[in-house]
Amino acid sequence: MNFEFSEDAELLREQARGFLQQNCPPSAVRAVLDGEQSYDAALTAKIAEMGWNAAVIPEEHGGLGLSYYELCVIAEELGRAAAPVPFSSSVYVATEALLAAGSDAQKAEWLPKLAAGEAIGTFAFAEAAGQRSDLGTRLANGKLSGVKLPVPDVDAADFAVVLTGGDGGSLALVDLKGSGVQAEPVRMVDFTRGHSRVTFDGADAEALGASGQGNATVDRLLDRAAVLFAWEQVGGADAALEQAREYAMGRYAFGRPIASYQAIKHKLANMYVKNTLARSNCYYGAWALDTNAPDLPLAAATARVAGIEAYHFASKENIQTHGGMGFTWEFDCQFHYRRSRLLAANIGSLNLWQDKLVSALEQSSAA
């Protein structure tokens, strides 16, 4: 058995961590938190130069053709840094949608641009509070109409993969810079990741994949994305644990470091346990993703549920460990508290993934 990342992947991790320490220090996250911009454009460009957007795009489309293990490593490091960039929407979802359902022409048009960092994509699935049902968005005669909310990274994105309603659902590919597209920014719990409300009013769009296959395609896409989101969550959860550990060692109360109190030790130990379970489940998810294993739905849901829970716990208890300081704008604890909630919502909540997990278990026990 070899349940480790390759040396190449580990090398990439070191490089990615160093790059982000340099180019995405906490001050960069804070600049977006406090500023007018919805993402860090300079960092986004540098990440594209590093080739991260191109990692899993096949070489024939201008990509690097690396394995998904490499992309998992990148996701973890982006999560650790709480990077304010339009990466997950473009790389984990929009790019994957093209790879999975795009026609040759669509792939030829977009994949080389995505790989080169010349284009950014996003996805627009949700429309209202609660789980998706009866979507109102429709594609007819090449025209897209409807309202999507919340849509990530619209400010940065050139095109969107849109889920439309009707029997079985369908996917549409729409140029966001074209006419008939109107986007208004929406404030999220995490100010460092821009989202919008997008109104399509007869926007030019084309079908992506077969009509009536949209829901099924999205399910498969989200299984793949879930593993990558979970890696971001594990990265963030570990960063929160490290912040808590460092603060607890230096902060004294009653003449002792607070780290010496069992309440704090157990809190941190519990973070470690949740993070480790999530990380190990993410390893398995990475394998299932890279090999497109039949087990992917179960592996993905397991990683996702563990990732949501670990990040939520670590980010809130990190604040708690910091006492009053953790509740201040000035301290960085808030980055992960905000991000953990956003990542928990972005591709469907804990409830949805718990349900998927048990359905996958039922299927595997029936098989």
Binding site: G130, V186, F254, F327, C333, A345, L350
Partner: protein, 403 residues
């Protein structure tokens, strides 16, 4: 035991409700006012009609009522939308301390204006080096003639920026054991040498502050308790803090969580039909009801003249993490939309998101979860304290780490 209003209670309730119906200001009467002006408008109206501080003696501006009337009043008032109070610290913590330690003259001077809302008070206890370990505070007080001269820094002082007076714990003697060298005062926040700097919190607002003292002079007459007795006086304040926080309602509760679960879908059905949602609601109801009835028991004890004991720590210990958990759960129920925090687009104008972002503060303010659990373990159950590095030695020899 019974929960039916007695004849007198029913009459009191009817009177309270009638008065509230006729006198609660319409929202457009105060919506344009600042937080403090709006709160003062409502408080003054209650005071003028004899509905402020139900349990305080009449001569101090209260109604001279009992604990049950206080509960009934709270129940009735909470049925209306009224300006949020900014008087909790003054009326709930400073006032009981003044009642216990101030002179008659001071009580007559300050309590009625606390009741009427004309004067707002803040609590100057926590310091950078003394939060949970409150008795590690360092702000120095030195006697100079008939005055004390104060130098140092407080932090996390809620409402300092709009307060007229503050209650203050200082270190008057660093050479004795830490709890023995403290002295308690109250002071005018406009005193020369007091400087207030707002601290922004993660939920966006800046309700708390750093407060710096540079050669601030306080007359000896504004000392509460004996020199060196500050810790005991502070405990009086803190015990009352428990009582006032524990009773407070949380912005996210079973009622609005249930309403949300009835509106949104989960697995193709209304979320309220989902077994997991039902189990969670049941758990939270057990907590909410348990706290409510615990507070009734406390009120009953208070009505017999007992002070709320350390067992009151349970209110905050249960209530604050519950608010955080419920907020996260409700955001989950909204799926992708749950992360939207936009009053125009979010369910209930964003109350769930606001609660998610402010609940971490509830778990810390007024004693952290961990300190509340320690109080229950040590003061209620009588379990031994942790090994202590700060006991029995002079304060200026206690290890302090880097700070």
């Amino acid at each position: 035991m019974d929960f039916e209003d007695s004849k007198e209670e029913a009459a009191f309730r009817a009177e309270a409700r009638a008065w509230l119906e006729a006198n609660v200001p319409a929202k457009d009467e105060w919506a344009h006012l600042g937080e403090v002006e709006a709160a003062k408008l409502w408080q003054k109206r209650k005071y003028d009609a004899g509905w402020a501080c139900i349990r305080w003696p009449k001569e101090y501006g209260g109604r001279g009522g009992d604990a049950i009337q206080q509960v009934i009043w709270g129940q009735e008032e909470s049925k209306f939308t009224t300006p949020p109070s900014v008087f909790a610290i003054g009326q709930g913590m400073a006032a009981p301390t003044l009642m216990a330690y101030a002179t008659e003259e001071q009580k007559a001077r300050f309590l009625p204006k606390l009741a009427s809302g004309e004067e707002i008070w803040c609590q100057l206890f926590s310091e950078p080096a003394g939060g949970s370990d409150l008795a590690a505070l360092r702000t120095k007080s030195e006697k100079d003639g008939d005055d004390w001269v104060i130098n140092g820094q407080k932090i996390w002082t809620s409402g300092a920026h709009y307060s007229d007076f503050g209650i203050l714990v200082t270190r008057s003697d660093p050479t004795v054991a830490k709890h023995k060298g403290l002295t308690y005062f109250f002071l005018d926040m406009k005193s020369p040498g007091v400087e207030i700097k707002p601290i922004k919190q993660i939920s966006g607002g800046a309700n708390f502050n750093e407060v710096y003292f540079t050669d601030v002079r306080i007359p000896d007459g504004q000392r509460l308790g004996a020199v060196g007795q500050g810790w005991q006086v502070a405990l009086t304040t803190l015990m009352n803090e428990r009582a006032s926080i524990g009773a407070g309602g949380m912005p996210v509760n079973v009622k609005n969580t249930m309403a949300l679960a009835q509106r949104v879908q989960l697995n193709g059905r209304p979320a309220i039909e989902d077994g997991n949602v039902r189990a969670k609601l049941a758990q939270w109801h057990v907590q909410e009801a348990g706290l409510k009835y615990t507070s009734y028991r406390t009120m009953t004890a208070m009505s017999r003249g007992q002070t709320p004991g350390p067992e009151n720590s349970i209110g905050k210990l249960v209530g604050a993490p519950k608010a955080q958990d419920m907020a996260a759960f409700c955001m989950d129920l909204m799926e992708e939309s749950g992360a939207i925090w936009d009053p125009a687009l979010s369910e209930e104008a964003g109350i769930f998101q606001l609660c998610y972002m402010s609940s971490p503060g509830l778990r810390i303010a007024g004693g952290t979860d961990e300190i509340m659990a320690n109080i229950i373990a040590e003061r209620v159950l009588g379990l031994p304290q942790d090994m202590r590095a700060d006991k029995g030695i002079p304060f200026n020899e206690v290890p302090t780490g880097s700070s």
